[in-house]
Amino acid sequence: MIWNKLSAVWRKELRDAVRDKRAMKLAFLPPVYMVVFFALGIGLAIHFQNPEERDIELAVAGQDEALTAWLVENRISIKEAPSDPYAAIEAGELDYALVLASEPVPPGSKEPRTATLVYNASNQKVHGAVGEVRSLLYRYNAVEAAVNILARGLSPKLVNPIAVREANVASEQQMGGLILGGVPLLLLMCAMMGSVGFAADMTAGERERKSLESLLLNPVPSFVLIVGKWLAAVALTLAVISLCQLLLFIALYFLPFNEIGLRVSVGLYAMVGIFVALVPVAFIAAALQLALGILSRSFKDAQTYMGFLIILPMVPFFVIVTNPGLYESWHLWVPLLGHQTVLKNLLLGEAIPLMAYPAFWLSALPVSALALWLAARQIRRAKVIYG
């Protein structure tokens, strides 16, 4: 009997919601534009990270044909420097320049020459390019020295007793983590916002269109009405999360992470894991939305109050982003806080704490139950019905 009534409420609210164009747009458009903006942002980041793409234009004063030819060979474009490069850089008209000997080098000369790299170290944007040119100069040095040594019948190894190599210890996953750090926030925001419009209509909307009194005249306990509405809101939130995840899946598949030497592969298994972790968030979100909604006189009021739900996932996000490695196992028991870490691990294909899922689900239940209990208590108050 109770189940039939619960199912009647659930089905009616779903039917009502699906026909509500305004709320449908409010629910299903944000995941689309959030993922599109995310993909554009990551795409641009990859573009700027990629050294192949970087365009260095070097102003050169003086002459050293062999050296400039080597630079051009290494994709540096050469332009004529102004007459006083030092003054130009000091004045900020030029970012950096290479000053060579003013006289051309006679062919076959073995005299050491001077190349001066001029730049203003307080100018942040020159460091990448200057470093690139500097390392090319050192490499040119080594190459020319090796040729000279070889011409005298000696091994080029003699002039390079130390071979310098660089190894970036950041693993692919860690680099990927840096880039994918915003994805958990995006997913949590989808989960928190998914049913805002629907929940507002189910509560404040009932008050606004004066259908609440008639609804309460039926022999149905308050908690059946609230739980039926809640189940409908949860179902809608899960649909929004699914859309968000599907779009992310597509975006992550097509983004050219390999161009910056990263291997980001988020498989179906990880996606299912993320979904299961987000279900309890949907429970909490829908319950809080209904509790806030029933206190609101109108649909607009309700949306204003629910705005803060969107801010909620940002708090743990900033805590975790500004303190990486802060993770403690009790975080799992604080809704939304543990999710930051666990969702990121799932995205990167890393192991997650054993207790993650039980903690998420068990901590969500009392919070949701409390919010639903509050909503069910409010709904029959004369002030809510007639106020």
């Binding site: 009616k12 039917r15 026909r19 009194e213 008639s214 609804l215 039926n218 022999p219």
Partner: protein, 242 residues
Amino acid sequence: MIEIEQISKTFGTLQALDKVSMTIGNGEIVGLLGLNGAGKSTLMRLIYGLLNPDSGQIHIDGVHVQKQPEKARSLLGVLPDNAGLYKRLTARENIAYFARLQGMSEWDIQVNTDELIDILGMESIAERHADGFSLGERMKTALARAIVHRPGHILLDEPTNGLDVITTRAVRALLRQQKAEGRSVLFSSHLMYEVENLCDRVLVIAGGRLVAGGSVEDVIAAAGCASLEDAFVSLSQKEGIA
């Protein structure tokens, strides 16, 4: 049978109802007359249990409204004032939703809904979304929704307010049919001809108190007036001055 005993209700300092008692028997149509703010809606809300009285008690077929509110509500069909519909549902879906909440079987819902659609002349709007319904169409849908579970007692708060003559006639016909089937009807109104036309008994409420009750003739005689309207005005004003 609806039995109301010594019901009082105050809102802040306002005494909305003061020791009101009345009985509404099966198979009778009772009109509740009163000026705006006389306490008609408050009395209705107390009967269907969305407000609680400060003192006194109400029984519906022996069921105590405050102690067994859900059981009591299943015995009632209520059309509150300003009954809002779900705009994105059709008239039929609006009716069926409340029927399911009353615990009816799908078969009964189908049969009863068809019958009400027929009596109230709602064939043209049954499959239309309620958004854009006229006042009369909204009222008919809300009325059908209120009585689809064939309750023993029907409470209507100003049901014919603002309706055109055709719709008013349809509502009247429906109420007479309900009476013929042995159901009691209590409806509030401030339209005299409506009450004279339809009611077996009239209750006049003024300043939160029941000031007269009985057949239309009894009320006119008690007030010593020539018409129900004169009697109503005289009774209401007397209470107002006192």
